[in-house]
Subunit: 401 residues, 2 copies
């Protein structure tokens, strides 16, 4: 039968993104992909997970295999509260909801906040996965310029007041403040103070999506202190994830925020997947309780750091004049700016011939910009792949010049 | 800050259901709950799962812990196809998408098919979790009467033609044909032929949600042959789940159907949770490949069957005149009809005083009916609990008479 006439407006709009189609071209195993934002697969804490599972008594086995409450496995919620408190975030009076990855956290919050046509504020560029959700709900994301200290306060104020003149109040500011995806830029501590104050003055909720903050190469936790740690008026909703501190395959993230917001997310989640994997939740609770998270992040920081340093050194050595890049202090990514006339989509097609892949800049930009930008991930490539990959990419750039 | 003015229309509508609030009353550990539709927690195949995890080589460990494709873990998709084929369902030319439980399958399909105001056809009564999704998308579920053979073809035809006169075409028929939740009723094989023919004649897609079909106490697979096995014109979308054949805690289900439908669900899923738990998917693929599913269902059939038989015997012995119940040939539930004047919500409050709980009938009815109905699950109670629980329930009924 013919289904076309049965699809909803949203269902009819669903189309494979250009980026997904382009990335299919990179399926060739000879291609070195610096595309996906994947954690290092060589160092997953599999033995710790196995030890955890082996230690389960009957109660935990049942908790892991049975349906759980939509609100999450109790011991996990407690462990997350403790873990988050250790980073200076006040959890008293806040609620926590485990979600099926941070992606579901963004999705639930968007469903709870956004009607079609609503305005949301995002960084320029911003996380592709968030843009897809905002667009999927018919919201209108408005982009804010960044500099090397992150969001620019003057720009934020100007955009908010400009929108107000059009009678538009943003539903929230979505920000990825630390080692941002895709740029690797970190919002400085003083900027966080200013951005928080502005949102407070203009009464804008903040969604702080902060997956990488533990994976710093420079400084210490005090340099990456959360916006939520400044939250005097209960305005910040913080999204966390186990994807970078344990495993993305377990699909576990969380929302931490005012109970009124989190309880609505929980009700929305009820009809979306009933609960997140109980098995993953019991593993994650025990992983935090055993203190494995600190061991793991302590091990991973120098690994990611040396990959990043090598990538930056190789870019320095290989790239022709006119190409520049960000210098991340942590995380998974660096962000390249090509000469103004060069289109990163065309470069990707050329790069695939050179057996190397990346993600093009446009999909990260809600304003149609970013054509001469691209994102490179150093996180899941070996040192040899990074060296060879950057060499191949430089070759592709040169052949486009 | 005050969030009320920031919530979307959908976010503002979200309220805890009456049933959830009532069930909170049943939190007392002395209460015997025959409420939730939970599998038997005493017999989960934990040792098999542990054996599977212990056997993983580096490739599988990485597949289990890393991000996966939204379309699912390849070997799992293959194993599901093989498993489903064994039950007579033609998989050639069909697509399969692993989902985060069957709940997400219902949610994705509703998103792909339903705009606010759209009509969908459901059984009277039907699965609460599906009703919540339909209502959440603003769809208008229209209920169809059943008898002890399931959906009544004359009723289906009448409803479709009546709707057509109002210029309303149903987006799909949602049915739970085997050991239905909540009634335990099974649609007979000849009824399946008739229902399929009618949907074909009037061009209505069918969503067949069939979680319990393997757990029969009478007859054999040929008595529970899927609607999808009759699908000459590619009209049936079949939802499957690992919750009843492995573990609900792994949160894994699937959609099997025409590629045009399934590919849209995959795109919708991309922004909802990116992928289902990779860990769960690798476990489930190995579980099917090792043939554990047949061992498990063979073990569980007599266990559930004896629980059901005991419950029916106890009802017969304990219940006063004027109470009747369904005689399921499999699954988890029996469905009670109280005397016409008795309200099952009031009975629940009384039952909680008697230390026993169940689910009231109204939430399963999209037409406001079912006030004198209730659902009893025998699946996750011990034989002792069933005996004692039915005794307590009968006491509560008698005190209401």
């Amino acid at each position: 039968m013919e289904f076309d006439k049965f699809f909803s407006a949203a269902g009819s709009r669903l189309k494979s993104s250009k980026i997904r189609e382009l990335m299919k071209l990179a399926g060739d195993p000879e291609i070195i992909s610096m595309g996906g934002g994947l954690p290092d697969a060589e160092h997953f804490p599999f033995e710790e997970i196995r030890k955890i599972i082996d230690s389960w008594d009957g109660v935990k086995r049942t908790a892991a295999l049975q349906y759980g409450a939509t609100g999450g496995y109790g011991p996990l919620v407690e462990q997350i509260a403790e873990y988050v408190s250790a980073s200076g975030v006040q959890t008293h009076g806040q609620a926590i909801l485990p979600t099926t990855g941070a992606q579901q956290a963004i999705q639930l919050l968007t469903r709870v906040f956004c009607d079609p046509g609503d305005t949301v504020l995002v960084e320029l560029p911003t996380f592709i996965g968030a843009v897809a959700v905002f667009i999927g709900y018919g919201a209108d994301p408005v982009g804010l310029l960044m500099d090397d200290q992150g969001l620019v306060p003057g720009e934020l104020e100007e955009k908010i007041t400009g929108l107000r003149e059009q009678n538009r109040s943003p539903k929230f500011l979505y920000t990825n403040p630390t080692f941002q995806n895709p740029t690797g830029i970190t919002m400085s501590q003083s900027r966080r103070d200013e951005i928080y104050s502005l949102c407070s003055r203009y009464d804008v909720p903040i969604i702080e999506d902060d997956p990488y903050y533990e994976l710093y190469f420079e400084g210490g936790p005090e340099d990456y202190r959360s916006l939520k740690a400044r939250d005097k008026d209960d305005r910040v909703i913080r999204i966390g994830t186990f994807s970078k501190i344990l495993s993305p395959g377990l699909r576990l993230g969380w929302i931490l925020g005012p109970p009124d917001v989190v309880s609505r997310c929980e009700l929305a989640k009820q009809s979306e997947d009933a609960c997140s994997s109980s098995f993953s939740q019991v593993v994650a609770a025990d992983y935090l309780a055993a203190g494995y998270v600190n061991q793991y992040t302590a091990k991973m920081r120098p690994i990611y750091s040396s990959k990043c340093r090598l990538m930056l050194d190789c870019l320095q050595k290989e790239m022709p004049e006119g190409v520049s890049w960000s210098h991340p202090a942590g995380g998974f990514f660096t962000w390249l700016t090509l000469p103004g006339h060069m289109d990163s989509e065309k470069l990707l097609l050329e790069s695939i011939k050179h057996k190397v892949a990346f993600v093009t800049g446009s999909p990260f930009h809600v304003d149609g910009g970013g054509r001469n930008k691209l994102r490179l991930a150093f996180s899941n490539s070996s040192l040899e792949q990074i060296e060879e990959g950057v060499k191949r990419l430089a070759g592709a750039v040169r052949s486009m010049l």
